[in-house]
């Protein structure tokens, strides 16, 4: 029984069809990668799932509840959280505050008890801090001790990515959508993030859908790979099969010129 089920969704912006009759699913405990050339509609897919856009047709179901028409924060409540491709952290706030904000929607005590610091709120606050640090500890000592209190704008790009992943984890979501988690990281850091994504699934119990351009990362951790091109799914399956699929190669590298019925030479 799939955790997330996407049923023939389409989305167009004016004349541009960003997503065309896309169907896919993600099972519980899986790591699924979405790949495709630039402009294939990967980020649009994420935006459709997380409620930033509403699909024109079709349905998205998470644990048998439709996500279509819900606000982004309601979707987080249901258990789907995301990271952003071009980092949307709370730049002037500390790392810890960033990870605490994403737990706010689970807070039980109301604002008055928060203002008066009633015992129930204090307990909740302590619990939130513990959770935040526990999530940040996925990344080893990198975001610990003094880094917890540093504003995000002083962090390196890789650390910002890690913070964003920790922030998404801390929402308490079951499923994480990671939009290019290794963008801007060097090979060593990429290898590290690969390990961490695997551990997020194994130890944290998260189901992960990720968009990624680095093929070695995708090949390393994906249980399944979905390939998009021009908003359509052109292949699906395990990494080895997918990368040798002629359609996928065509999408990435293009056809040979003679296959198009054109000559490669130009008359002078």
């Amino acid at each position: 029984m799939p955790l997330l089920e996407i049923d023939t969704i389409s989305k167009s912006f004016g004349g541009l069809k960003a997503t065309k009759d896309l169907s896919m699913h993600v099972n519980e405990g899986e790591i699924v990668s979405v790949i495709g050339p630039n402009g294939a509609g990967k980020t649009t897919l994420f935006n459709l799932i997380t409620g930033v856009y509403t699909p024109d047709t079709g349905d998205i179901r998470f644990q048998d509840q439709s996500l279509v028409g819900r606000k982004p924060n309601e979707i987080v409540n249901l258990g789907v959280a995301r990271t952003f491709q071009n980092l949307r952290l709370f730049m002037n706030l500390s790392v810890l505050d960033n990870v605490l904000i994403s737990q706010h929607h689970n807070l039980k005590p109301n604002w008055l008890s928060a203002m008066l610091r009633l015992p129930a709120y204090r307990r909740a606050e302590r619990e939130m801090r513990t959770q935040a640090i526990e999530k940040l500890a996925f990344f080893g000592p990198r975001l610990m001790s003094f880094r917890l209190h540093q504003p995000v704008y002083v962090l390196s790009y890789a650390n910002r990515r890690r913070t964003e992943m920790a922030r998404a984890m801390a929402t308490g979501a079951k499923m994480l959508l990671l939009d290019e988690p290794s963008a801007g990281m060097n090979p060593k850091e990429t290898a590290e993030i690969t390990q961490i994504i695997r551990r997020m699934r194994d130890e944290g119990g998260y189901t992960i859908l990720l968009v990624e351009h680095k093929m070695n990362l995708v090949g390393d951790i994906s249980d399944r790979v979905v390939v998009l091109d021009y908003g359509e799914k052109i292949a699906e399956g395990n990494y080895r099969d997918v990368v040798s699929d002629p359609k996928v190669i065509e999408a990435y590298l293009g056809k040979k010129a003679e296959d198009d019925g054109q000559t490669g030479e130009v008359d002078v």
Binding site: Y121, R129, F146
Partner: protein, 575 residues
């Protein structure tokens, strides 16, 4: 592995609460000191000072609450005067006493009805059999109830105004909130609401013993600051800050934008209503022109100058604005032109000194500027105030009042310089020079206190030397320009009377507003985020605790983590 991580997280989270006990003790002591200082100020027999403190507290409540929307939630709202109006008129209406009521009834232009005239709490309580809070001695109970009701009514309107904020952003929302503020003011004068507001006549005789009382106003300010500070550092405050930083990200992380924005508006409007009640009491009456947009403008200046989002900074900004408003009147009088030229010289010199300080603080990254610079500023202040001595009318008198305090300024940095020169074995030449000059300056200060006018003019010599002294911090052309122009203006102003020039008079009409505008402009140029920026006072400042700065061990570990040459093993594992 998971268990281990959880244990570690618990320990780390617990370690963050280490200083709570100490901070509580310090907070109690700090509050005690504040109360003593207030009591001392209150005991000074000057209604002007008391009025200024009370106004600072009232406007402080308004700015701190406006800051909750503008600074913390990051929504530019311009309708605060409308919220204050609601709280103010509610308070005025509920505090109607029989005498005022009779006055209004007898007035031919009164627009009030019997029903609205009967809303006064005193008569209502008496008729409900609650005579014990209807006496003259329990006016304070009725006042409390009135401002509370005013605040609640204002919060209700805040809820309504908050709704457009869900669909609008930035400039558009600012226009809408401005419109709302004006609508509230204009509605109050229409026939529908005139029975409640008495139209253009408004109310007179609102009891002013609360709005003019230092204890009442500062007490309510303390409550407001406590409430909003506690909120800011709670999960709700973090959510609001998240909305300020990035609305889309906040929503994607589960923050309910609609709830939090409307909540911020309502809470802010509540405190604005309370400020409105106190404001009406401070003025002793309620009229529609007490709630012009100008009011919100003053609050915005306070916030922008002090520090957007910082409660401490906003209070600082309010103090500046209130100071200029309450004590700026000597600036708006008639003086001969040479006095104005001297004044311009003072401002230029202060600007030069301020720039120097700012640069030095920026360059060295230290909070406290070098002792030498303190000395420079102190001397400049002292000498400048002496230069404008009492011969020059009310402006001179006004300045020398503050000038007396400036001698201390000159003496304290002198001590600092001396101690540093003594303690530091590697004395630097210029520090010695500064010490010598400060000695000279002190001689001159003493001479001019003794009343020797020649000594007063001599003060300009060390001043000139100081401004042109090539220290590492003043080595920029603009500081020299400020210094040179300021000195020329001062000298010109001093000799003008002998030369017989610049003797016509000029009335400084509206200088206060101009001064505020210049203050705002200069702050925006040098520190767009306000004097304090986003920084908030905390006890950690006093102890120089910086949680975001690594200690040596942490720094070593950080280097080890990020440098593959130091961390061979991890590099091998990764590859």
């Amino acid at each position: 592995m998971t268990q281990e991580r959880l244990e570690m997280a618990k320990a780390e989270a617990a370690s963050m609460e280490d200083n709570r006990g100490r901070n509580t003790v310090l907070a109690v002591i700090g509050l005690g000191v504040l109360i003593v200082v207030l009591a001392l100020l209150n005991s000074i027999d000057s209604s002007k000072l008391r009025d200024a403190i009370a106004l600072f507290a009232i406007w402080g409540i308004a700015t701190v609450s406006l800051n909750l929307i503008n600074g913390i939630t990051g929504i530019l709202s311009l309708g605060h005067h409308g919220f204050m109006l609601i709280g103010g008129y509610t308070t005025a209406l509920l505090l109607l006493d029989p005498a005022t009521k009779a006055n209004i009834e007898n007035s031919a232009r009164s627009q009030m009805t019997d029903f609205t005239l009967g809303l006064g709490l005193q008569e209502s309580f008496a008729s409900w059999g609650l005579g014990f809070i209807a006496t003259d001695g329990t006016l304070w109970v009725r006042f409390l109830i009135a401002i509370l009701l005013g605040g609640l009514l204002s919060a209700l309107v805040g809820l309504i105004v908050g709704f457009p904020s869900l669909r609008l952003r930035g400039d558009y929302l600012a226009i809408v909130t401005f419109g709302f503020g004006e609508i509230i003011r204009l509605l109050a004068s229409t026939r529908v609401f005139a029975p409640f507001t008495n139209g253009a006549l408004g109310f007179q005789g609102v009891p002013s013993e609360f709005g003019k009382s230092v204890w009442w106003t500062c007490g309510l300010l303390a409550l407001t600051v406590a409430a909003i500070a506690k909120l800011k550092y709670s999960s709700f405050g973090r959510a609001l800050l998240g909305i300020r930083e990035d609305e889309i990200a906040a929503e994607a992380m589960g923050v309910d934008l609609a709830y939090h924005k409307v909540f911020a508006f309502a809470l802010s409007a509540f405190f604005a209503g309370i400020a409105g009640g106190l404001w009406v009491s401070w003025l002793g009456g309620a009229r529609l022109d007490f709630f012009l947009f100008q009011l919100t403008f003053f609050f915005l200046v306070s916030i922008s100058v002090g520090g957007v989002g910082s409660i401490t900074g906003v209070l600082l900004g309010t103090a500046l604005v209130v100071f200029v408003r309450q004590y700026g009147d000597p600036l708006e009088q008639v003086y001969s032109l040479d006095t104005w030229v001297r004044f311009a010289g003072v401002v230029l010199l202060l600007a030069g000194a301020g720039l120097m300080l700012y640069r030095s603080a920026n360059r060295t990254g230290r909070r406290l500027p070098k002792a030498a610079n303190l000395w420079v500023v102190g001397s400049v202040l002292a000498l400048v105030f002496l230069g404008l001595n009492t011969n020059y009318g009310a402006l001179g008198q006004w300045l020398t009042q503050f000038g007396r305090g400036a001698y201390l300024w000159a003496a304290l940095p002198l001590l600092l310089v001396a101690s540093r020169t003594l303690l530091n074995p590697q004395k630097r030449f210029y520090l010695d020079l500064v010490a010598v000059l400060s000695f000279l300056g002190l001689v001159v200060v003493v001479g001019s206190v003794a009343g020797n006018t020649w000594a007063t003019n001599l003060t300009l010599v060390p001043l000139a030397l100081l401004i042109f002294l090539p220290s590492e911090t003043s080595a920029k052309a603009d500081v020299y320009w400020f210094g040179a122009l300021g000195l020329i203006a001062l000298l010109l102003g001093s000799v003008a009377i002998d030369l017989g020039v610049l003797q016509t008079t000029f009335r400084g009409f509206g200088i206060r507003a101009i001064f505020l505008s210049v203050l705002l402009t200069v702050t925006m140029i040098f520190r767009p985020e306000g004097i304090l920026g986003r920084a908030e006072f905390s006890w950690a400042w006093l102890f120089n605790e910086r949680r975001d700065k690594p200690n040596d061990e942490e720094r070593a570990q950080d280097a080890w983590l990020s440098n593959p040459e130091l961390n061979q093993q991890a590099a091998q594992e990764a590859s």
